[in-house]
Each structure stands twice: as C-alpha cells, then as structure tokens.
Amino acid sequence: MSADALAATGSRPDAAGHFGRFGGRFVPEALVAALDELTEAHRTAMADESFRAEFAALLRDYAGTPSLLYPAERLSAKLGARVLLKREDLNHTGAHKVRNVLGQALLTRRMGKTRVIAETGAGQHGVATATAAALFDLECVVYMGEVDTERQALNVARMRMLGATVVPVTTGSRTLKDAMNEAMRDWVANVDGTHYLIGTAAGPHPFPALVRDFVRGIGDEARQQCLDQIGALPDAVAACVGGGSNALGIFHAFVDDPDVRLYGFEAGGEGVTTDRHAASITGGSLGVLHGARTYVLQDADGQTVESHSISAGLDYPGVGPEHAWLHDSGRASYLPVTDDEAMAAFELLCRTEGIIPAIESSHAIAGAAAIAPKLAAELGREPTIVVNLSGRGDKDVHTAGEYFGILGKEQ
C-alpha cells in the first residue's frame, strides 16, 4: 500500500471513529481498553512494512489473490452494459471474507492473543474465521443463532471439521444479531486473551476502519485491473451491502475518482414497503446498534426489528457506519434489490456465464442490471460496470434449489 493510500485511509474516520455523525463507540466501558489496544495495534500494524508484507504474502499464496477481473461478455450482452466481474468467489473459502479474517488473525497474533471469537449468520464468516484460526493455531469459538445452525447445518459441520467450537445462541430472535450480542458478552468476560474477529465493517471503532483496511485490496486490485485491461476507469462500481465489507472493500479505491459512480445494493427482501426486508439505509432510520451510530431497522421505541432476506449474509438489521456516511454525503447510492430480483440475477449468471454466484452477490448483479439502462441513457453510450462477485454460490445450492423447485428426482 502506498504512503498516499495510507494517509487517505487515516483521514476517515476521525480519531474517535466517527464518519461524520456515524460510527463512534457505544459500548460498555469494560471494552474500551480492548478497543483502544486494538486501535493501536491496527495503527502500528498498518505502518509496519513487515506486517503489510506478511499480509500480502498470505493473501497471494494462501487466499489466491489478486482475484480475476473477468469481462463477462454474455452477461454484458444481456444487460446492455460492459460488465466486469471482480471474482472474489475464486478466493480460498469462496468469498471476500478471507481477506478480513487473515488480516485480523495476523493482528490477533501480533497482540499476543490466543483465542478468537466470531459471530456468524449463514456460517460464511464462521467458516472463514475457523479457517484462519486453524492456520494460525488459535482457539476458535463461533456464535451462531440457533435458527441458523438448523438452516445451515453443513457450515456448522465445516466449522467443526476445522476445529472450531460452534455455540448455538438461543436468546432473542436466535439469528445473526443475537449471535453478535453473544460474541460481545463473551468478549467482555474474556477480553484479556481473546480477540473478537468481527465479520463485517460494522461495530464500534476501530472495527469499521480496520475491516475496511483489510478488504480494500478488492478495490485497489480492481482499479488497477481496469486501467490495465480496458485502459480506463469504470463508469460505475456495484456491490451488495450486508454489514458492508465487500462493498467498502471495492468502493474504497474509487472514492476519490469523481467520475466513478458507487452503488450499494441492499437486501430488499419482499420489498422495502413491507416489513420483511434488510435494507437498513433505504428502509431504516438513524440509531445505535452493536456499538455504532448508523442506520438501523427499528421500531418507534428503538427496539431492533428483525430483518429478512433470502440471502443469509445480507440478513442483518444494521449497516457499517461508513456506508451510512457515504449515503449521507451522496458519494454512494444505495438501492434495494428484492429476493425475486436477486434470484433472477442468480439464474441469469448461472446460464450466461457458467458461474453460480452467492445469493448475496446476486443482489449486485441484479442491481447492475437495474442501473445499466439509466447509466446508458445518462452517458449516451454503453456503460462499464465493475460488479463485485463477493462469493460463490455452493453454500446456496439448497436455497436456490428450493426457490426454483428443482430439488428431487423430477424436474
């Protein structure tokens, strides 16, 4: 990473972790010392040449990055846009998430901690964390809502194979947000030797900035690949937004390129006008959740409302504070994509390119399809859109099979 890039990273958030009016730390005092320690470890690590070199080597030799930037020609023809897919689905463990867990595992070791805990919804972040824990010989405990352990039994088995302990969470709605609460509770009690390896660019400072710094390679690579492959920057960059890590990862390198439009696609579930969606920016309101001020799905009394999405990885009632800020500042646009739109895009990518995408990433494909005609009209030519294909769809085959009614003997 260049010195300039680091300086730009340092300018936002402010020293207390605020992105404008968002972010900060809304945590028990007991955690502040650990968050301060982590902030300092993050700062010195990013300034340490040997840490950056070790991280880069791991990403290259273990995770398989840089991921390809692939010109999806048959998809392009369907969408009326030149679509370049950032193939994060080809990374080890099948998603962008490996970047974050490797970075945080390195930091864990640097802080002298020997145990990591994580929350997981569908199990993707849990599997990634268990993977890094195995590689770094760290004890690993993953909190997962009881409902999700039943829905995602295969991922539970994967985590256990990798040596992790999976703890089903039986409180609250027994889903991702409750798994996050439980991980926080574990952390408060065991903070001395334990690192909370948070799975997205959310939570209290320094997590949003720290996770962004570990996944920003997605955008750094994509920007350079665009210049190398098409000799220009794209007109737009598109990504799905759950907590926001893959989107920030690909946005970050383009934030200072004024002609590159940034689009984040939230899970619109059954529609943002219904109460069954996970679109915190489009359909939520200002609040505090899991340690940060951001957009939250909540009721009139500030109680968190349960989210819904066909995609477990987007099924979260909050969003990282930097996205809230990018939305408020107008630098990025956030739009909802429904379950049905995402599944149509899922099928389209399967059939046109022979790539089975994660249902999360299918939201980005659907979003790109929706903005393509508008961009074409605005620019008066075919637009170029980089889409972050954040993960592969193997984990989603069951959900998709049910959705399309193609499970079983007959078709």
Binding site: F26, V32, G172, V188, N190, V191, G287, H290, G302, Q303
Partner: protein
C-alpha cells in the same frame, strides 16, 4: 443534592451501604412490575433501578435478557416505562433508570430527560454510553437536573476512570467483574480495588453491581462500597415463580435478606 444523593447520605449516617434493586419495566407485565418494585421497597430496598427493556442487551446475562424479552413480548413501550417510574417514585423511594442508549435516542434525548424528570426519576445509568459519546445527554441532564451514572470497569485506565467519574453525578457504577450481569457464587476480588481507585478521584458514592445474590454477599460488598446493586437474583424470584403472587413473596424474602445484609457489620 439529588434524591439519590440523599439516600446515600442517610445510609452513610447509619453506617451502612444503600441497597439498589433492579427490575426491568414491564416484567412480567406493566402492573406486575409496579407490584414487584413496590414489594422491593416494602422489603427494605432503598433505591429502585428500573431497566428499560431492550432487544439487544449486550451487558446483560441470561436472567435479565429473558425478563426483558418477556416484557417486550408483552408489548411494553418506553411511555409505559415512564408511567412505571412515576408509580414507583410515588412510594417515596428514589427511582433511577438503567437503559441502553438506542431507546433514548429514538425517544429524543431532551424529550426523554424532560419526561423522566416529570415522572420523578432521578437520572440514568447508561451501560453502553461512554462520556465521549454523551454530549446530548450531558446537556439534557444539566437542563433538567438529572443524575448521570456512567460505568467504570476494572479495565478502565486511571485517566479514563478520572474522566468518566468527572462526568458522573449522583453516584458512580463500578462493574465488579469483567462480564455480564448475573448472580455468581462469589463476588470479585477486583471490585474492592476498583472502588478504592474511584475513591481516589471522587467524593461521589460508588455502587457495585454484577454478581450479588445473597445477604452475605451484600454484606461483603457493603463493607467497601456505598451502594450494593442487585439485579438478576431479584428478577429470578419472579422469573422462576409459578405465578406473580409467589414471585412477590420470594422477592420480599430476598429483599429483606439483602436489606439485612447491608446492615450486617461486615464493614
């Protein structure tokens, strides 16, 4: 001096600690929680801490989570909590409110301070609000003369401890253990150390919470702290009871045991 301050002064004059008993608003029902808190006052609990139930209580252990879930499932609203505070304050006992921050932001910080003051509440204990994020609350609590209790923890540095205590009014809340709420068989060794660290930087009374469940533990904690804060053990009386009447009886028994505990000559 605030009404909480008066309660601490009075107990100090009697050579004992104040007993603070915590109950979520609306648990098991709105009326049931008023009855429970009234029973606690009658049993000798000096100060009532009303917790606003919240969907994501990260500082709380299983007992308070369960009670909060029951209250929320019963449909309790923030406005109900204010009504409960008013009813319990009418018993004459000081009523302090413990709340995660989001419900207050949602209500409106100034509006909540105004309505809390009107209901006779003394102030707020804020488990997930640190002074650095509290500008609006600092202003609103000044405007309405409400107390502010921020938490200090064994992990707080000296500098943070001094800064946090400086922003407190009424009393300081020392979290005795690194962990969530819930009765434990032993109270912690870290607590007396933390209390003496707080005493070095303030004259404010110090309450110790997290883990106290018996009269003997209350006596021990009362030996070094100005306030003994009991939550889960009291809540469990109602949670584990087959009906509210039985729960209230258990609550009175434990309340009396704890009240005796803080009067036992452990200090």
């Amino acid at each position: 001096m605030s009404r909480i301050g008066v309660a601490f002064e009075k107990a100090r004059a009697e050579g004992r600690a104040v007993l603070v008993g915590c109950m979520p608003a609306g648990f098991p029902t709105v009326e049931g929680s008023i009855a429970a808190m009234t029973a606690m006052v009658e049993a000798g609990v000096d100060v009532i801490e009303v917790e606003i139930p919240y969907s994501d209580p990260v500082m709380d252990g299983p007992v308070i989570q369960k009670a909060s879930d029951i209250a929320l499932a019963g449909g309790v609203r923030t406005a109900d909590t204010l009504r409960i505070i008013e009813a319990v304050a009418a018993t004459g006992a000081p009523v302090v409110t413990m709340t995660y921050w989001n419900p207050i932001e949602r209500y409106g910080v100034d509006a909540f301070a105004r309505d809390l003051d009107a209901a006779g509440g003394t102030g707020l204990i804020t488990p997930d609000l640190i002074p650095e994020e509290a500008d609006e609350w600092l202003a609103a609590s000044d405007a309405y003369g409400l107390d502010r209790t921020f938490l200090v923890a064994p992990s707080s540095t000296d500098a943070r401890l001094a800064m946090t205590v400086e922003h407190c009014r009424g009393f300081v809340y020392a979290t005795a253990i690194m962990g969530v709420t819930g009765a434990r068989s032993q109270t912690s060794d870290a607590a007396p150390v933390l209390v003496s660290r707080v005493r070095q930087v303030t004259e404010l009374p110090v309450g110790v919470g997290l883990g106290v469940g018996t009269g003997a533990q209350a006596g021990t904690v009362g030996g070094y702290a100005d306030g003994v804060i009991v939550g889960s053990a009291l809540i469990r009386c109602v949670l584990d009871a087959p009906d509210l009447g039985t729960g209230l009886t258990a609550l009175r028994t434990l309340g009396a045991e704890l009240a005796e505990g803080v009067r036992a000559p452990a200090r």
